[in-house]
């Protein structure tokens, strides 16, 4: 087991359900969630905001040389997705047989990210797939 599970647990709202935040002062939407709005700084009034997970590929790459914890997954495709609501977010893009290009429309799906050995937790996460 590499990581204590609390570091996963406290992020599950965002990682499982794509809950980010919205600043009621300026209307800016943030994913992942932020406490302080980059535009408003101290004047932030942040509330939770659920995102649809629908978006478009801004860029992507296939990772051939992974970090140790992803060595059983490689190669895998990651990308930067512009969510329909505005924020850009990084994530895995699943190969579901459809072409992945810049501009490809994607939607979020719930998947296993990786399994931490025989005793550690299973890390779940949103991933994206072409629609």
């Amino acid at each position: 087991m590499e990581k204590p599970s609390a570091s996963l647990w406290r992020k599950i709202g965002a990682r499982y359900n794509i809950i980010g935040s919205e600043c009621k002062t300026c209307g800016a939407k943030h994913f992942p969630p932020r406490i302080v709005c980059r535009k408003c700084g101290r004047e932030t009034k942040m509330v939770d905001k659920k995102f649809t997970g629908n978006g478009e590929v801004v860029s992507f790459t296939k990772i051939m040389v992974p970090p140790d914890m992803f060595k059983d997954e490689a190669p895998y495709i990651v990308g930067i997705i512009a969510l329909d609501e505005g924020p850009k977010v990084e994530g895995h893009i699943i190969d579901n047989g459809k072409a992945i290009e810049i501009g490809t429309k994607v939607r979020a799906v719930f998947r296993t990210m990786y399994v931490d050995g025989d005793e550690g937790p299973i890390y779940y996460h949103y991933k994206f797939e072409p629609v």
């Binding site: 992020k11 992942p32 980059r38 801004v58 860029s59 992507f60 790459t61 296939k62 990772i63 051939m64 040389v65 992974p66 970090p67 140790d68 914890m69 992803f70 060595k71 997954e73 895998y76 990651v78 990308g79 930067i80 924020p87 850009k88 977010v89 990084e90 994530g91 895995h92 810049i102 990210m113 990786y114 996460h125």
Partner: protein, 389 residues
């Protein structure tokens, strides 16, 4: 408050590379003693040291690096502060050293940078370097640093028709320069085909698009310009020392095809130094990946957006081309011991401006620029140097 002019009066470098023979202490001493000798000062003359290192703890278990530098160089109980700013640790340390002298608080300040990276397996080194990005959202999802720069490259290629050959051209040029630098990690010339045929790391970036894992150290001695001649016949004046930051996450930035922190720092630096981008004929830029050099050429204002790649293939940035970029070999050819890099860039520019760069000398070099980036662009530091006479 009036600021004093600051000069570099001593420079030193360790040999860069896979230094199985040397640990942190030996590397620091190699560079540090060379810099003190170059400035004709003793260990007793130094008033403060700023030490740049990114992840010495992850690479070697050793933290508290600046006090260790002071200790190993025989400095006498002086204040010592470590600077960690990812791959821009060295450049950031230089800026603080500059501020310490410019402010009048200290006269003789040493700026050191070091990284000992080859004592851990390369996957472990990659994880340590990943700490420069956002742990929770980038590294957690297995997005490596080559992966982040690959996404910038792919977008740059999409928007500006930049090609894999143009990226390869950066590696070929920098290896050609490194071939002339005895301190460089690599003394092996590359061809475009060799780069294109090297192993894919994260498309479109291949192994030879990436800077290596390296060991090395670099050091500078700073002094007030008004007394600089006492230490060195050819003091090099720091004309500007500027820095900017941006979001840690690449996805959150305004653009993937450039580094905004670089443009912001450069704009301030040109203003401070009272020079224009096209006055610069010599620059050490942060080519951690080949695409990073192309973006730097554009963000620093040397080329219009989308035009830098072609300039590389046309030889405009080769040694004594229109603008000589990365005469040391850059991070790609000379090596990238991350904490040392920003300081090493300054060492190279000082040698060039003094006319001491030997067979890689840029003819008539009067002004030089260094550009040091942290992470995927959350930090950028730009310095401009000039001959003071």
């Amino acid at each position: 408050m009036t600021m004093r002019d600051v000069a570099v009066v001593g420079v030193g470098l360790s040999k860069f590379g896979e230094r199985w023979d040397s640990g942190l202490k030996e590397l620091m001493a190699e560079a540090g003693v060379a810099a003190l000798e170059d400035a004709s000062i003793t260990s007793n003359d130094v008033e403060m040291i700023f030490g740049g290192t990114m992840a010495s703890g992850s690479f070697t278990g050793q933290e508290h690096i600046a006090a260790l530098m002071s200790d190993q160089l025989g400095f006498k109980n002086i204040p010592a502060v470590r600077i960690e700013n990812a791959c821009a640790s060295g450049g950031s340390a230089l800026r603080l050293g500059y501020m310490a002298v410019a402010s009048g608080i200290h006269d003789i300040v040493v700026v050191g940078g070091v990284e000992k990276m080859t004592d851990v397996p390369s996957a472990e080194a990659g994880t340590a370097l990943g700490g420069a990005g956002d742990q929770e959202w980038e590294l957690f999802q297995g997005i490596t640093f080559p992966g982040l720069y690959a996404m910038m490259a792919k977008r740059h290629m999409h928007e500006y028709k930049t090609t894999e050959e143009m990226l390869a051209g950066v590696a070929v040029k920098n290896h050609a320069n490194a071939y002339l630098n005895k301190y460089a990690q690599f003394h092996k010339k590359l061809t475009i085909e060799e780069v294109l045929n090297s192993k894919m790391v994260s498309d479109p970036l291949k192994l030879f698009d990436c800077s290596p894992i390296s060991d090395g150290a670099a050091a500078l001695v700073l002094a007030p310009l008004e007394v600089a001649k006492k230490y060195n016949d050819t003091p090099i004046k720091i004309l500007a020392s500027e820095q900017a930051s941006d979001t840690l996450r690449l996805a959150e930035r305004e653009s993937l095809t450039g580094i905004k922190a670089t443009s912001l720092a450069a704009e301030k630096a040109y203003k401070r130094a009272k020079v224009k981008a096209n006055d610069i004929k010599l620059a050490e830029v942060h080519d951690c990946f080949t695409i990073a050099e192309i973006m730097a050429m554009e963000d620093l204002g040397f080329y219009e957006k989308g035009k830098a790649g072609k300039a590389v293939l046309d030889g405009e940035t080769a040694l004594n081309g229109k603008i000589s970029i990365n005469t040391s070999g850059g991070l790609k050819g000379c090596g990238h011991p991350v904490g040392a890099t920003g300081v090493k860039q300054a060492v190279e520019v000082v040698w060039q401006l003094r006319g001491e760069a030997g067979n890689r000398q840029v003819n008539g070099a009067e002004i030089g620029l260094t550009h040091n980036v942290g992470g995927s662009g959350a930090t950028a530091v730009v310095h401009i140097f000039g001959r003071s006479n």
